[in-house]
């Protein structure tokens, strides 16, 4: 029988830490990307091979895109690790969630019930919320590093006038809204995709789910791109002084 759960199912515990199927797949994504990175690092050469060419093309494209937002290459290179890692992690997680076996291979969970062994990480709010918290924290750290603590705080706590004060409060609220919008946008899209695919596969198992699979591949990429781009834009907004924005 088809089961749709908003919460990720617990598979086992490590000490007091529960391990859910979403955490397991995000671990797989981490290992996969880490192995790929270490392999590519060992083959890095001044005259590139095919793999390195593709990697340079992708990273070069990301840097060019970041240049258009941040305005210079130095800043792009400085913030590339955060922005591009967010994009890669979300993309890899989303696409791994579409692989055959994810959701269909089942094991006995902690409570004894039958649960899927793997689940798309972004279909668990913990994954998206963790990423959103990390991004917003980093954005503020970068902002403080770029313009100073006082200048950064003046964005939220401005006592120059009632309007500035009100705008500051709105900015503060928007920081929390960012976390919610970041996490729920990604979670909503991926979870909806998972549900859609599960229902389609349940109703008509052959051929009909295929276009929806392609749609989810596209959605997976677009959501990762949006998450990365929003991170980039928030970083760009945070590293300029308050007066420069106008």
């Amino acid at each position: 029988m088809l089961q749709i759960s908003l919460r990720a199912e617990q598979i086992f515990h490590i000490g007091s830490f529960p391990v859910t199927n979403a955490v397991l797949l995000s671990g797989v994504a981490l290992v996969l990307l880490a192995v790929l990175a270490i392999t590519l690092r060992s083959k890095l050469a001044f005259v590139p091979n095919a793999g390195q060419n593709i990697m340079e093309l992708v990273v070069g494209g990301a840097l060019t895109l970041m240049d258009s937002v941040l305005g210079n290459r130095k800043s792009s290179e400085k913030y590339l690790p955060l922005v591009f890692t967010v994009f890669l992690f979300v993309l890899c997680s989303n696409w791994l969630g579409l692989l055959p076996g994810v959701g269909s291979i089942v094991v006995k969970g902690v409570g004894g019930e039958v649960v899927p062994l793997l689940r798309s990480p972004a279909s668990d709010l913990n994954f998206t919320l963790a990423l959103a918290l990390i991004v917003v924290t980093f954005v503020n750290i970068f902002g403080i590093a770029a313009v100073g603590l006082k200048s950064r705080l003046s964005v939220f706590f401005n006592f120059k006038g009632p309007i500035d004060f009100f705008v500051g409060i709105l900015e503060l609220i928007s920081e929390f809204a960012k976390i919610i919008s970041f996490s729920f946008r990604l979670f909503g899209n991926v979870f909806a995709g998972e549900v859609l695919l599960a229902i389609m596969a349940f109703l008509v198992p052959y051929l009909v789910p295929l276009p929806f699979m392609f749609l989810e591949i596209f959605v997976g990429f677009i959501q990762a791109f949006i998450f990365g781009m929003l991170t980039l834009v928030f970083v760009a907004m945070a590293v300029v002084t308050h007066g420069d924005e106008h």
């Binding site: 671990g27 880490a34 590519l40 590339l80 890692t85 992690f89 709010l125 913990n126 963790a130």
Partner: protein, 167 residues
């Protein structure tokens, strides 16, 4: 709030797990990909820029060398022309000198030859004179040896023959 978190499945343990996952990935990618790759791209860019700069410099130098070469060729041509002109003048001068020398030597030789010829002529005259004297001497001797009547008869006879021949 706690009930909402429970409903949504939000658990700080899981949040921490996912955050740790992300941080590990961030560190791994930073160490193994971003840093070395950006360094490599910088190095390559620097090398390409250096290569282009050197190529520009080489082009500039080549143009300078070309200009210097052309100047030198022009100088060499001009020098060659001067040398040719000077050689021609020298040759003409030498030719004139040689011609004068040859003329002088010719005249000298001619004089020598004239002197030699004159000497030989003198010698021939002397020899002829000697020979003539000797002949006269012999003729006189013969004449002395002959009788006057016979000489007269012979002369008369010769004269008669000459007369007959003329008439």
């Amino acid at each position: 709030m706690q009930q909402l978190f429970d409903q949504l499945g939000i658990d700080w343990h899981l949040l921490l797990s996912q955050a740790v996952n992300f941080f590990i990935l961030l560190v791994v990618l930073r160490v193994f990909i971003y840093k070395p790759l950006l360094k490599l791209l910088h190095d390559r860019r620097a090398r390409i820029e250096e290569g282009l700069m050197k190529a520009d410099e080489a082009d500039k130098r080549l143009a300078e060398v070309d200009i210097i070469g052309k100047g030198k060729i022009k100088d060499a041509e001009s020098q060659a022309l001067n040398i040719l002109k000077k050689t021609e003048v020298d040759a003409r001068k030498l030719e004139a000198e040689m011609f004068a020398e040859a003329k002088r030597k010719g005249a000298e030789e001619f004089k020598n030859l004239e002197a030699i010829l004159h000497a030989r002529e003198q010698a021939a005259h002397l020899a002829i004179e000697k020979e003539a004297a000797l002949l006269i001497k012999r003729a006189i001797v013969r004449t002395v040896e002959l009788s006057p009547e016979k000489i007269d008869d012979a002369l008369i006879e010769k004269s008669v023959k000459e007369m007959k021949h003329i008439v």
